[in-house]
């Protein structure tokens, strides 16, 4: 009896292991954990700067670095064409991440840290994949491009002794952020939308974008308080981001740091956007509505559209936040993204679009994530900022104009049709505030156009994808920021009957147990005496 049982169990075990492998294979490709570069501080023992080290460094450089940084270190390597920002020009002192005073060259350790960590959001990779020795050698070589490393052999280092954050300090920091005019570049709420940045970008066509301080994962020099303190004290050479070592006292710089740190958010991403049931009759149609605080926010990273020509190699929008609510009739989305400017032209306008398949997929199969394909159509809800001026005029969309919404269908990016007026049933309203667009899009859960419109169902996984255009970055048509497929799910409420089931389950569990014990008592297991 027991033998048979054993065999059965072993079979089960094998089946289990087999299916497990199947799942492992599947899960690994399905799980895509986000990976952002972080600024790493550890520096190992330095390699002595010798002629041999420099010669070896030249070899490393001419294998790994030259095609971006240029064979002569001028930052003009043959691969630098599609890179924004451009690779560092080593013949000038434009080093950004340093522990040394403004205008000085970085220390070898600074170079080691940045080379090991890479620079998030840029082409500069993290080189912890080559040996420490090779990194030191490369450092000694790139220093030969610039005479200043010789003249300025022991640059003055800014000391960092951290002071803990308090609410008062954050408040004082906020005042100082205004007084020292950080907001002129970084904007009132730190979203990189200050008037000077806007002028630099749109009027002087300068490549500088002040950092969006709310996105902590984009800080090139690290986002710990010590890192931010160092950045503010040293500044970034040859960029508008200057040094505040002299302009602010040590203590004041700490207040500013604590304020910047309080702005800096982590990315809260997820694969499924949960849509909560909203009890009221009316879903909010305004971004400022209190009820949005009930919805869960999901942040979705965006990439430049480089899947088909025309390609956007240098997107300016790198994330969008989504919230959604539904009631028995309607569904509403709140979309928010940071954009440094609100400049609209006839052609180049700020816009956003949501993409759904035209039907909820029954199987794994979906339409192609980039605007569908001949085998699967998508439904697009697209919102555009207001513009209604004469030819060539560039204006800001006013707050009282909600922008225009249109519903479209697409079977590939070359095959887009606008739905006829009678099936345009998405309402929308967008507002630009302090460097952030906030757009609400709303529609009934079901419509009459069952062929062209997504019909929402509760409890199902519904694919959704996003696209954002930044007019001032010359985004239009295929030039945009995009995401791949994500999902929304309209949450079911917990039905009362669940508790009945649970009760039944407990009673049944109890009875099975009693029966088992009773049997066991009647036929106690026999031990064979050896």
């Amino acid at each position: 009896m027991i033998k048979a049982l054993k065999k059965g169990l072993i079979c089960f075990g094998l089946i289990g292991i087999g299916s497990c492998f199947l799942w492992i294979c599947g899960e690994v490709s399905a799980q895509s954990s986000l990976l952002f570069r972080t600024y790493k501080h550890e520096v190992p023992q330095k390699l002595q700067e010798t002629p041999e080290a420099v010669a070896e460094g030249k070899k490393v450089y001419e294998k790994r670095c030259w095609y971006c940084h240029g064979i002569e270190g001028k930052g003009d390597g043959p691969a630098s064409k599609t890179m924004f920002p451009k690779p560092r020009n080593f013949t000038r002192n434009e080093y950004k991440v340093r522990s040394t005073v403004f205008g000085s060259v970085p220390t070898d350790e600074d170079l080691f840290r940045i080379i090991t960590s890479g620079i998030e959001g840029t082409a500069m990779p993290f080189w912890n994949t080559i040996s420490e020795k090779e990194r030191w050698q490369a450092i000694h070589y790139i220093k030969t491009f610039n005479e200043q490393f010789k003249k300025d052999a022991t640059p003055q280092v800014v000391s960092v002794i951290s002071i803990a954050s308090t609410p008062e300090s954050v408040n004082r920091g906020q005042e100082l952020f205004k007084e020292t005019k950080c907001y002129e570049c970084h904007g009132e709420d730190g979203r990189g939308n200050g008037p000077l940045t806007v002028a630099l970008q749109t009027e002087w066509n300068m490549p500088y974008r002040a950092r969006d301080l709310t996105k902590s994962w984009n800080f090139k020099g690290g986002n710990t308080i010590e890192d931010i303190y160092r950045t503010i004290s040293t500044g970034f050479n040859e960029t508008p981001m200057g040094s505040y070592l002299e302009k602010l006292s040590d203590e004041d710089r700490w207040h500013v740091v604590h304020y910047v740190k309080s702005l800096a958010k982590d990315i809260a991403s997820d694969v499924v956007v949960k849509v909560k049931l909203w009890e009221g009759d009316q879903l909010p149609s305004d971004a400022s509505d209190e009820s949005w605080s009930k919805a869960t926010a999901v942040e979705i990273p965006l990439a430049g559209q480089i899947i088909a020509t025309p390609r956007q190699w240098a997107p300016s929008i790198d994330a969008i936040m989504v919230k959604a609510l539904y009631n028995k009739n309607e569904i509403a989305f709140l979309l928010e993204w940071d954009d440094a400017t609100n400049k609209q032209e006839e052609v180049f306008r700020d816009a956003v679009s949501l993409q759904f398949p035209t039907k909820i997929p029954e199987s794994l199969k979906k339409p192609y994530f980039a605007m569908g394909d001949s085998g699967g159509a998508v439904n697009l809800w697209s919102w555009k900022a207001y513009w209604n001026e004469g030819f060539g005029a560039v204006v800001e969309a006013p707050e009282n104009e909600s922008g225009s919404v249109s519903e479209m269908n697409a079977k590939g990016f070359k095959n887009v049709t606008i739905q006829p007026p009678e099936s345009q049933n998405v309402a929308g309203r967008g507002i630009y505030q302090n460097g952030r667009w906030k757009v609400v899009l709303k529609r009934t859960l079901v419509t009459e156009d069952t062929k062209g419109d997504m019909q929402f169902e509760i409890g199902k996984l519904i694919p959704i994808a996003f696209a954002v255009w930044d007019g001032s970055n010359s985004d239009v048509g295929g030039l945009k920021s995009v995401s791949s497929w994500y999902y929304i799910s309209l949450e079911k409420q917990v039905p009362k009957t669940v508790f009945v089931y649970v009760l039944i389950a407990i009673i049944m569990g109890g009875s099975v147990e009693m029966w088992f014990i009773a049997r066991l008592r009647r036929f106690p297991p026999k031990v064979e005496e050896e």
Binding site: I2, A123, T129, L364, Y368, Y487, I517
Partner: protein
Amino acid sequence: MANKRNTFLLIWILTAIGCLFVFLKYASPKIFQVLMAKDHPMPTPSTLMMWYMIMGVLAGLVYATTSNQKFADFLSFLLPGSGHVIQSFLRNMLFVAFPVLVGWFVYTWSIPGAASPVELRIQHPTLPQDFEKLENPFRQKDDQAQRKSIEEGKILFQTYCRPCHGSKADGNGPFANSFRLRPINFQDPGTIATVVDNYLFWRIKEGGPGLPSEATPWDSAMPSWKDDLKDDEIWMIIMGEYDTAGVMPRQREKQE
């Protein structure tokens, strides 16, 4: 023998299963974080977790039935009236815990939670016939010409593929985080090192849209480059791509 009986066998097995759970839930994410040098813990996928737990339970049962003696010990724990205080205390706990656990399972199954999507795919579907016969023109050439094609290919790779696949071909380009089906890490020995040049030629030319449905073409951000790159350029990119990633293509079986 008889007096060395392990009357707590049942409890030991349950404890082991409990430990397995704790390990998978809390320890393994940390271990993988260190092993894979990530900056965040790597939670065990829920389905994987379920299978490991099932396996753990089965292993426990298999162990308990390895001898009749063990099996008897295993079951006799449940017999009331025997043993000392701790044993009867644990036993009573078990009696209460079992129905509660069943109830809890039913509860978690029946409350409507958002299901997480299943996105199984096959990374390397079979190469379409049209591409089988092709040869990489640069592999036959002399060393110098090969070097040249590699250098040119690397530059093309950096220009067109870098934003997704990363400058080191490690799948970590600045755009990589935006695509849930991540751009492939070519340094990973399970990717381009397991296929031949032609295979890459097909994938680069036709991209995601060229994939058959078992490879979920609808989720693939891999562009189709046939309108933008000439065949020669693609072969050069392949040369440069393998070199950048530091791996070799699979050797073809020699034809007799």
